[in-house]
Amino acid sequence: MAQQKIYPYAVARIRVLEKNLLSKHTLNQMADEKEVESCLRTLTEYGYESVPEGNVREFEKVLSAELNKTYAVIRELVPEENFINIFLYKNDYQNLKVLLKEEVSKTDGSKYIVQGGTQPVEKLKKAILERNYIDLPEIMAEAIAEALELYSKTQSGQMIDIALDRGAFRQMTEAAKKSNNPFAIGYTARVCDLTNLKSFLRMRHMNKDFAAFMNVFAEGGSISSSVFFGAYGTDNPSEHFKATDYSQIFEDGYEKGFTEFEKLCDDFLMEYVKSAKYIALTLEPLIAYLYAKEAEIKTVRIILTSKLNHISSEIIKERVRETYV
C-alpha cells in the first residue's frame, strides 16, 4: 500500500470546526421553533452570517455564503489537493444549465446562478456565446456540445438537463480518480449509485420505459445498468438489489414513498462518510467535513423553506437527515 500523505494541521483544524456542525438534536429543535427568526438565530450561534432584519426570505444568501466559506477553508488548508473539485463541479453544471436555458429561451435566469464552481460564471458565459470550449475541461466541453445538439434535435429543455447531468457525474467520477484517494472514490461511486436508485424509483413511478431510465443513468457507480434492467420490469425490485450494499434502503423505504426513500439514501451516504470520523492524519476527515457541511446546509434549507410555508414541525422533523456529529 502506498503511503498516504499526512495532514496533521488540516485535520486538527477540521476537528475543531466540526464542533460547529449542527447536530440532529439542534436541527430538530430548529424544526420545533415557532418562528423562522429563531431558527436563523440558532444558525448565527453556529457561525452562520445573520440575515438582515425583516428579510427572512433572504436566507438563501446566508446558506450560500456559509457554503463558500467552507470551500474556502478547505482550499486554504490543502491547496495542493484537488478532491474539492468533486464537490465543486456540480455548481459549474448547475450554472451551465441556467446559461444554456437562458440562451435557448431568451429569458433571464441569473437568480439561479450559484457561486463556488471551478470555473468563473463569466468564462462559462463567454464560452457558450462563442461556442468555443477550448478553455473548459474536456468532459465539460463535450457535455455542452451534446446538450446543444440534443436540444436542436428535440427542442426540449429537459434534454439539456439530461446531457449536463450525465456530464456532471462523469466529471465527478474523474475528479475522484484524479484525487487518488480511495475514500473519495468510494464516495463518488456511492453518490452515482444512490442517484441511479432514486431515478429508478422516480422513472418507474412515472411509468417511463427503461430507455428513459438509461438516459438519466449515471455512470461510475457499482451497480451496473444490467441490474437495473433486470429490476425494471418486475413487481418486486427489492429482490434484484438484495446482493448490493443498498438492499436495506429498499427494504425500509420502497413502500414508504419517495420522500422517505430519498432521506434513506442521504442517511446511507452519511453513514459511509462517518467512517472518516476516526481517522486522525489523512485527508478523509476533510472530505467528510465538506460533505457534512453540504448535507447540513441542505437540511437547514428544508427546515427554513418548510417553516416559511407553515408546514408542521412533525412533518419537518421526519425530513431531518442524519448528521455527521
Partner: protein, 163 residues
C-alpha cells in the same frame, strides 16, 4: 592501511555508537514533535485557549531524543572523549557501538509513531478537552518501547568494562 586502523580505533567506534544513539533518536523525536505540533497548531488556530493542554501532547514524542542524548553522553564519557582516562580497545569500541543501537533505532521509529498517536490525541482534546488524560495515555503507551530501548542500551553500556 591507515584508514583501516583509523576505523578500527576504539575511540572512533565509541563515537560512532554515541552518534547513532543521539542521531536517530533525535531524528525520531524531531519528526514526532513536528507531527504532533502541526496538529496542535491546527487546533490552536481555531481555539488558542487549548495551548497548555496541547503542549503536553507535543512534548511526549520529545523524550526519545533525550534518551538518545543520555546514552550518547554515557558512551562518550566511558570512552574517554569527555573526561575519564581509559581508552577502549577495538573490540570494546565495537561493544560500545552496539550499545548505542537499541535506543538509536527504537527511538527513531517510536518517536515518529508516538507523534502520530499524539496527533490523534490532539483530535480528542479538540472536541473534548476534559479527556486530555486519555489522549496522553494512548500516546504514552508508545513511550514504553522507547524506554525498553533505553534500558537495553543502558544495561549493555553498564556491562562493558573499558581499559
Amino acid at each position: 592501511m591507515e584508514f583501516l586502523s583509523a576505523i578500527s580505533d576504539g575511540q572512533f567506534l565509541a563515537i560512532a555508537g554515541a552518534a547513532i544513539a543521539a542521531l536517530f533518536a533525535g531524528m525520531g523525536s524531531a519528526k514526532g514533535t513536528s507531527i504532533a505540533g502541526q496538529a496542535a497548531a491546527g487546533v490552536v488556530t481555531e481555539d488558542p485557549s487549548k495551548f497548555g493542554q496541547l503542549l503536553v501532547l507535543q512534548l511526549l514524542p520529545g523524550t526519545q531524543g533525550l534518551y538518545g542524548f543520555i546514552i550518547a553522553f554515557l558512551i562518550l564519557s566511558k570512552a574517554g572523549i569527555i573526561g575519564g582516562e581509559a581508552i577502549p580497545t577495538a573490540s570494546q569500541g565495537f561493544q560500545l557501538l552496539a550499545a548505542g543501537l537499541p535506543i538509536g533505532l527504537v527511538g527513531y521509529v517510536s518517536g515518529i509513531y508516538q507523534g502520530k498517536a499524539a496527533a490523534a490525541g490532539v483530535g480528542i482534546v479538540a472536541k473534548k478537552p476534559e479527556e486530555l488524560g486519555k489522549a496522553i495515555t494512548f500516546a504514552a503507551i508508545v513511550e514504553t518501547y522507547a524506554l525498553l530501548g533505553l534500558l537495553v542500551s543502558f544495561l549493555a553500556y553498564n556491562g562493558i568494562t573499558v581499559g
